[in-house]
């Protein structure tokens, strides 16, 4: 039976639909501790004070919490697209964001804290940063504070781990980040947190503007959690309860919890493992990486099948279509090939919904990759078809075939062998380019790597493991292609006379 790629696509899509009766909450687990991150001891588990908050909120609302991964600076667009119901991930309540989404009452109050290298003694305030390089998360409030300070070179990062690592490695002079981040990352032996508090901010649960009912429910639930002291308990367990909140929250419970989660975190970070334990630890990551790898393979196979089909059609349009059709195909190829895949993905995922076309992340990822690669495939197949001597077409026509019959039965089968090596090449390239779809909430191999590395501080070991997985995924296809190539090389068979 022949399965059309579209049918496969449909099957794959239905597997990715979310169940009902859930509270889908968006966050970026590669952002780092203590917000939302992968448990270093059990990487398959998403933990953090906001994971606890989401669970508590969902319980209050009688819903099942479902975590949806997305890149931090894309959390708001993802919410507007409807990929999840709420965002709970250190999203500061600002006027700009309020124009885009609705915010609940604050669930956490904090301020920016500055972290510098241990050996640095001349930075104490924002003004001291003049002429220096300071880092923070992309799109965070701190980015604006640094910009307003004047004369500071602001370096934007995607994850906290990378941010504080770069500070420890001396690539930047200071980090300005939300206080909870400083509590967790500034404790590095090479760094120190400065006492000053900069700015004031409040994290809110972001909800779509037209979701007034959900917003009201969230606010009621938050108020109940606050009153019962559950919110404070969560923050105390994570070691991030602060005086600002004590003054503002109407917590009358008088509860006090030990910072157990903070202690766990520090313990997990400080452990030095022997090689056996190290190996066992890496083996523990394999299932999660394998899950990401499966998504990568699904995505790549579907996208490539579509790209091959579209590429072939485009090549035929360019070669045999009437002038306007050939021109259109040509413009498509130059436009798609000439613009970055990343922009195309953003366009499809976040751009198209503004004109009413809303695609599931998986569909958008497959389409984005397929559209991008179809342009390359089109050129490969055009060259492949042109490599077949025109005499073959004439011979087929002379035998009474139509042009299309000649193409389908005589020219394309011969061109297939010519294009097999470059197409395999493109597939391997697509396999790796599929890592880009993590920007549209897809959790594939590279995103899993990012999440694991951010929570375990191990960019090296897990990086090698991930790279190895990409190679292993590609190898069977390379072998398959070689085998097919050899089978198709009939003209290389020995002469009989």
């Amino acid at each position: 039976m022949r399965l059309s790629p579209l049918l496969l696509l449909a099957c794959a899509l239905s597997a990715h639909a979310a169940p009902a009766k859930t509270l889908r909450w968006g966050g970026d687990s590669s952002g780092g501790a203590p917000f939302v991150f992968q448990d270093p001891k059990n990487p398959a588990k998403t933990v953090g004070f906001e994971a606890d908050l989401a669970a508590a909120l969902a319980a209050e609302l009688g819903l099942e919490p479902v975590f949806v991964q997305n890149q931090w600076d894309s959390l708001v667009p993802g919410l507007k697209r409807g990929d999840y119901d709420v965002v709970i991930n250190g999203l500061e309540i600002t006027e700009e964001r309020k124009a885009e989404v609705a915010f609940s009452d604050p669930y956490y109050l904090t301020y920016e804290a500055m972290t510098v290298p241990k050996k640095s003694f001349d930075i104490a305030s924002l003004a001291d940063l003049k002429g220096r390089r300071a880092g923070t998360l992309k799109g965070a409030l701190a980015e604006r504070l640094l910009g307003d300070a004047g004369g500071v070179t602001v370096v934007g990062y995607d994850t906290q781990t990378m941010l504080y690592d770069d500070l420890a490695n001396g690539r930047i002079d200071a980090v300005l980040m939300d206080h909870p981040a400083a509590v967790y990352y500034g404790i590095d032996a090479r760094l120190k947190n400065l006492p000053g508090q900069f700015g004031r901010m409040a994290y809110g649960v972001a909800v779509r503007k037209n979701d007034a009912k959900l917003l009201a429910h969230v606010n009621e639930a938050l108020a109940r959690l606050m009153k019962a002291g559950k919110l404070r308990e969560i923050y105390e367990r994570w070691g991030i309860w602060n005086p600002v909140m004590a003054a503002s929250f109407t917590d009358t419970s008088g509860n006090h919890a030990e910072p157990t989660e903070y202690a766990n975190y520090l313990a997990a970070r400080g452990v030095k493992l022997g090689w056996r334990a190290q190996l066992a630890k890496y083996m523990g990551y394999v299932p999660l990486l394998a899950k990401g790898a499966v998504t990568t393979v699904e995505l790549s196979l579907l996208a490539m099948s579509l790209a091959v089909l579209m590429g072939l059609i485009l090549a035929l349009m360019k070669l045999y279509g009437p002038a306007p059709v050939a021109l259109m195909a040509g413009i498509y190829v130059e436009f798609i090939r000439g613009s970055p895949l990343l922009i195309q993905l953003f366009f499809i995922f976040y751009g198209l919904p503004t004109i009413g076309i809303k695609l599931q992340p998986f569909t958008a990822a497959v389409l984005g990759l397929a559209i991008n690669y179809s342009a390359y495939e089109a050129e490969v197949y055009r060259a492949g078809i042109q490599a077949i001597p025109h005499a073959q077409m004439e011979a087929a026509l002379a035998l009474g075939m139509t042009r299309w019959q000649a193409l389908r039965h005589i020219i394309i089968p011969q061109a297939l062998r010519v294009v097999l090596p470059p197409t395999t090449n493109d597939f391997i390239a697509l396999l790796k380019d599929s890592s880009l779809v993590s920007v549209i909430t897809m959790v594939e191999l590279t995103r899993v790597y990012g999440m694991l590395a951010a929570s375990t501080y191990d960019y090296l070991g897990i990086g090698v493991l991930t790279a190895l997985m990409y190679v292993l995924i590609g190898l069977p296809f390379v072998r398959l292609s070689r085998w097919a190539e050899a089978r198709l090389a009939v003209e290389k068979r020995p002469r009989i006379s």
């Binding site: 005499a391 087929a396 002379a398 035998l399 011969q414 009939v490 068979r493 006379s497």
Partner: protein, 248 residues
């Protein structure tokens, strides 16, 4: 072989990139004829042949075969209907390299006529025997000599049951000792009454086998007649000059 209609071309004109290669050619082939077209390279003989089966369009003139008449430059449906009556053999064989010999023979009957593979093979296998390639059904073109390939190409054209066979310098790409095996097949077809039109430089074949010689120069038919007359006693000074090279 069933009586085929006469092929008549009248006043064919064809211009390539501003250069007129056919300047009003009249041509006729009655059933069972074996006509050899000779002339210098570039005289238009190959173009004429390619116009006859529609691989090349002509700007003016008409082409008729039985009830079918093709006029003017373009009519795809009619061209294909006309073409169904012609088999074409090329200088460079143009076998399909990705198919074995039998695959080459059955391709068009299956694709164009919608035959099943067994039906098509029933036609193809006797043809392979006729051209002396019975043992080569499973060989690929690249494995065979030029002579064998050209014989396979003839069989491939015959598989579509054409009424007229066209040959465009069928032996020019062959080593001299392989030429005869191809001509032998054409002789055999002639004996069976097939209408054949051959463009070739092989004067020995033209002399011995052709029923009629057509001599072309600069896009026109200069002279035509039986081999003895054209080779032995040409009338037109241009023919005389051309033939003088072959004076025995």
């Amino acid at each position: 072989m069933a009586a085929a209609p006469t092929l008549v071309a009248k006043g064919l004109r064809k211009t390539f990139h501003g250069q007129q290669v056919l300047k009003g050619v009249d041509f006729e082939a009655s059933p069972g004829q074996l006509i050899v077209i000779v002339g210098r390279s570039g005289c238009g003989k190959s173009t004429l042949l390619r116009c006859l089966n529609g691989l090349e369009t002509f700007d003016e003139g008409s082409l008729s075969f039985g009830a079918l008449t093709l006029q003017g430059p373009r009519d795809d449906a009619k061209t294909r209907a006309l073409r169904a009556n012609f088999g074409m053999v090329f200088q460079s064989f143009n076998l399909f390299p990705h198919l074995d010999v039998l695959g080459n023979l059955v391709a068009a009957p299956m694709i164009v006529k919608g035959m099943s593979r067994p039906e098509a093979e029933e036609i193809a296998l006797p043809l392979l025997e006729k051209v002396g390639l019975s043992g080569h059904a499973r060989h690929y073109p690249g494995q065979m000599s030029g002579g064998q390939q050209q014989r396979a190409a003839i069989a491939r054209a015959l598989a579509m049951a054409p009424k007229v066979m066209l040959y465009d310098e069928p032996t020019s790409a062959l080593d001299p000792w392989l030429v005869d095996e191809v001509f032998d097949v054409m002789r055999k077809l002639d004996a069976e009454g097939m209408t054949q039109i051959v463009v070739t430089h092989e004067t020995r074949f033209a002399r011995e086998v052709a029923r009629e010689i057509v001599f072309m120069e600069e896009g026109v038919v200069v002279e035509k007649g039986p081999p003895a007359a054209i080779f032995g006693a040409p009338k037109d000074p241009r023919t005389v000059k051309y033939m003088s090279r072959f004076a025995a």
